[in-house]
Amino acid sequence: MPKRAERLKTLIHSARKTADATQKAMLRAEDRLTELEDRDARRQAREPK
């Protein structure tokens, strides 16, 4: 019975949950970046040439 491997798999699995949370945080941050880019583009468009 591979007991050590099972224990380590559990540890890796818990770290993967944090990795998933980090990935979701990254997606939220990218959405915000898109908003900021749109905002900056609108500002530039409004500036007199």
């Binding site: 491997a5 890796i12 770290a15 949370a21 945080a25």
Partner: protein, 143 residues
Amino acid sequence: MKTTLANARQNLEDALPGLSDWQAREARQVLADADARAKSCAEEYIAAREAEVRAARDEALRELTAVRDGMDALTSEGSTGRISAEDYSTTLNGLVARQFAAEERLNRAEEKVGLIEQIEADPVAWYDSMSQRIPHLLMELPL
């Protein structure tokens, strides 16, 4: 002669019909001792790999947590309107690079867990495979 444990086991099986009970018992004991040495070696190897996996996993977890918090803080800062898209993007790219590096570390740790699982399932077979690659690990067995 120097041989793998699988070969020694096969040699013993082949020789058994011609051996006395005492000789067979002695030969089995030699093989059992060799198996025990192989298992002990595998156990040491697993312990070392386990320590590496735990260290890598802990480091990856710390980094992923820090990156997650950093991304949340950056997202909040982005909503204040006080940061340019360019600066925001630069910071985000740095965080994403750290995220990928931490995930890669976790992937490598998981690969080692797979190896540990294989060795635990059959430590003697692992020892044999190692001794075929590293001949000085071959045991001197009278079988």
